[in-house]
Symmetry: C2
Subunit: 113 residues, 2 copies
DNA sequence: TGTCTACATATAGAGAGCCTACATGTAGAC
DNA sequence: GTCTACATGTAGGCTCTCTATATGTAGACA
């Protein structure tokens, strides 16, 4: 997966895995990998700053917990985060429709119609 | 359309509109707009440098023409450009599958399966 | 005891590409 | 004479993602 391709879609991805359950960063990375069928391996240097940005925007809240002697920062969607996710989903549809419409192969003799 | 979303997909877009016919920059911008159903308005400051980059990569060749007193630089796909387009198309499918798989809404009680 | 792997978070710095804004010029309509 | 459409191009900035690195705990294994 080309790194640049994810640009601008990371927010949607993060918001989406947090939709129904709060998770900490490390678990988010694993969830992303599982849900994408192994296609998405997002590095920690991408996820942690992105989560903080999303929190700064008011889409997430976080709190520390200690589990098995290890500290975790667990993130949870805010009401604004749920709204943002809905927006991201419809933006994703518009985006794929637009790009897909251009990329779709067409025969030379029947242009667009 | 959020600007960042296009990041990394511009090459595919440009290659695709040039697949069956050579076009000049201005016409490419119009074609992108038409084919995307009006969703894509790519500014000249994005397209012209991108076309040059693609030419530098060997995916396009260009030649100047004068039509109606106006100068145009017309771009055409090379053999390598056709191959690159095929690669971009399959990358696009993998990308949408991966992100789509994560974004797809799921009910809280039936996770992934 | 020491080492390795998995778990867990974080930051600095670099790189790339897309955008805004601006510059330049022709042709045709009004 | 002015305005819009046509047409190309560059400089500079911005933002996000990545690589690399740092730090530390827990548990397995030898």
């Amino acid at each position: 997966m080309n790194a640049d391709a994810l640009r601008g879609h990371m927010d949607a991805l993060l918001l989406s895995v947090l939709e129904h359950e709060p998770l900490h960063g490390y678990a988010i990375i694993e969830a992303l990998q599982v849900r994408s069928g192994g296609a998405l391996s997002v590095p920690t240097g991408t996820v942690y700053p992105a989560l903080r940005r999303l929190e700064r925007l008011g889409y997430l809240t976080s709190e520390w917990a200690t589990v098995g002697g290890r500290k975790r920062r667990t993130y949870r969607l805010t009401r604004a985060g749920h709204a943002a996710l809905a927006g991201e989903r419809s933006a994703w549809r518009r985006f794929t429709d637009a790009v897909g419409g251009v990329l779709a192969p067409r025969s030379p003799e029947s242009p667009a119609r």
